[in-house]
Symmetry: C2
Amino acid sequence: MAVVSQGPCALLLGLLLCVLNPSISHAEKLLIIPVDGSHWLSMVGVIQQLQKRGHEMVVITPEASIHIKEASFYSLKKYPVPFQREDVETSFAELGFYAFENVPFLQRMAKMYEKAQKDSAVLLSGCSHLLHNKEFMASLVESDFDAVLTDPFLPCGSIVAQYLDLPAVNFLNALPCSLDLKATQCPSPLSYVPRALSSNSDHMTFLQRVKNVLIALLENFLCSMVYSPYAALASQVLQRDLTLQDLLSSASVWLMRKDFVKDYPMPIMPNMVFVGGINCLHTKPISQEFEAYVNASGEHGIVVFSLGSMVSEIPEKKAMEIADALGRIPQTVLWRYTGTPPSNLAKNTKLVKWLPQNDLLGHPKTRAFITHAGSHGVYEGICNGVPMVMMPLFGDQMDNAKRMESRGAGVTLNVLEMTSDDLANALKAVINDKSYKENIMRLSRLHKDRPIEPLDLAVFWVEFVMRHKGAPHLRPAAHDLTWYQYHSLDVIGFLLAIVLGVAFVAFKCCAYGCRKCFGKKGSVKKGHKSKAH
Amino acid sequence: MAVVSQGPCALLLGLLLCVLNPSISHAEKLLIIPVDGSHWLSMVGVIQQLQKRGHEMVVITPEASIHIKEASFYSLKKYPVPFQREDVETSFAELGFYAFENVPFLQRMAKMYEKAQKDSAVLLSGCSHLLHNKEFMASLVESDFDAVLTDPFLPCGSIVAQYLDLPAVNFLNALPCSLDLKATQCPSPLSYVPRALSSNSDHMTFLQRVKNVLIALLENFLCSMVYSPYAALASQVLQRDLTLQDLLSSASVWLMRKDFVKDYPMPIMPNMVFVGGINCLHTKPISQEFEAYVNASGEHGIVVFSLGSMVSEIPEKKAMEIADALGRIPQTVLWRYTGTPPSNLAKNTKLVKWLPQNDLLGHPKTRAFITHAGSHGVYEGICNGVPMVMMPLFGDQMDNAKRMESRGAGVTLNVLEMTSDDLANALKAVINDKSYKENIMRLSRLHKDRPIEPLDLAVFWVEFVMRHKGAPHLRPAAHDLTWYQYHSLDVIGFLLAIVLGVAFVAFKCCAYGCRKCFGKKGSVKKGHKSKAH
């Protein structure tokens, strides 16, 4: 209904913008199928910019969404799902809770596996409800969109794009189990491209390379549980047999929140567009409340501390350890924390329910950033050149932390094992040892020195796909080969067969020749021998 | 000497431009080591633009150069070489001459091989003379450059860059024998990335894939003759052991005149920047002389015909066949031809010594383009959306023609075998069959729809390398691995050994267990048996 009421206005606005801005040929209509949580946060900027350029945006989301809400720059359409907003909140909270649970490795893995199984079943049921909601799907068909912008972390958007026969633009950081690399046919040699969750850098020892290969072997098995059901669902809805690879590889362009300052250099494919740092383009002046904190910090400046939007509470003992460490540095610490305040909180530590992270990091008085090393936070640290103390909790955070640490731009702590001393020492190191600041400033200069801003690049490619109804000229022919053809195994087999065949014939000819030449002599000898007997 | 006299002026101009243009932080000094011939033509635009942005350019070239001449926007320094300008002219002329020689395939190959051997020996001697010219090299050291821009087709520039310890930017179309892909560690699966000179597309039959693999096996051997001496020369001059791979891979950024409209999608590396179409950004209005030809052509319009700067003469018989075919179309043909005019030249065919190719192709009355399918010409055809009749002569021209033909944007003719009818029919086809025009217009739209112009991109990356003294963050760790490490062969061997070891131990244990369980029975039976005996 929101679409119907906002549609004509958006269209009029679009037309007006077209007249005012001659670079826009005509307004187009984009269907956006995001993923809730932190994934949504970086997509919003792109949607906002596309709307400014006169396009009409329709966002669809489950009724139980937390972060995806009504906004002025897009129409929101919600579809009913068989779970509640509270279920999603509990699931998010569990992620943070599990990260602080000090249980043996195998038990932790089993718990995470169980949680992934439960959560993915819930999300799949939401997707299934969308696809089987005939009325809702019919309204999408009627809306006559030009393209789909989706986060393939949940491939539901990919199925909808195929159902509507629309070109898709994927927007993501990375997919688990290197599914993004497989779907784009992007080579990623295991010898120097570290697998996700390996905590390897691009320079690996022999044993680290062994680990990398083992992870690559295992990840297919692990991800099939979560992702295979989407292929089955797609096959059912689209009424043709589809693999997960078919489903994901149908995207025209992949907008990836990566760059080669945070990530290690590796092969890329023509339809992969790197837009890392898209979330930290501009910093705004901070509010009076935070300005007061910063001004009061004096010559020592401030430290920004946040474990991200997913972690709201920390076990009391751990919170007290942290508070103790924070009290031992001369800087003022602004800590985003919604749990019960630790009783030993020092005077220099201010607890806040929310903080303007990127704006604070951009303040010249900010000396360090304590972060869980989510990709958003790490890019904000790089953009603003603030050395980091990283406490990775789950997902790609360990890898992000490893990348920053290997570049000398921060210190990584194990949140479960670290002591109060460890944190205090790490903070003192990144603040007082000039090399950390120098390294992060070097990374910052490299990161920000680019021919085109990531937001403009993202907007360009979404518009490109809408203008040209896809980008088939960027799709490698590798998609049309079987795995043995891709690796030329049939050709190698054929050439080997010829070489062996020729060698065999040559050997036989030689043998025959030898028999012909020396055969008589031999038989004569034999004859002699037999006579002698 | 030119540098000394122009240096301060250029510096002053640079400073002035810096003040006027705040986007330039400070003027830098670039050493340019180009390759003569058509390679030089597309580099000129980049140099011109860099000079406009206030940088100081010094071009060094052998005294025997043909195309590289004095110009207002760079300083030229020439070094003596043991060959004459006439030798270079003869060598270029031979290329065109050989292309029209109707000799058996093997004989042609033998001739080309001999020519390549002769020419490369001459060029190598030029490079050796430069590197051993102490005075000249000392003047380069003193000039205190910030970076080197070079065409690695002759790796002399790469050696100079290493000698001066400067970061290098490579500017090229592609290197023979996929040396560019090897030097950048760029994966290029033989199953869908066609090898140079194979005339394959990205969709190959089984036998085409066999051909592709065979070419890949052969090319190492073929190129070593031409390129290995540069590694030996580099090792001698730099006084450390270097392979050709070391030499070429030292470049910070590779500016490649490619794009995915002309070229097939394939993996790329972070330091490969695609600037295809850099030579045909803007068309200028044509001169009165050519305007008169175009106006006189009436409703039928014109056909532009050029076989490039390297081919000046065509055997008389072939020229007459061509002239005959050209006379059979209603269009006016503008033919760039410096040889003796064929006696049967029709009235609609105008011979000119030179023509403003890109500007003419940009004219709305141009109906077709007869070209040798050099990369410059093909991009000009794409930029301006003019369908092509292609007569590839040598080098990458066959591959370029194949790419355009496979996209339905032109017709390829074998210049040796084609008859007058073939050419006339091909011309009529590309002019009258609308699909050719539609396809080239589609390619043109895709090619020109880009987030940033290739010239700006090239200038950005040259400046980036100068600003940051290289781009080590784009260099993949693959360079630090041996070939067996790169392919994880050591890891695979190790894991296989473990699996086989475990299987062996398990088998032995089972066998031992079996013997323990059934052993007594067996020996009892045996005992019985022996007793029975």
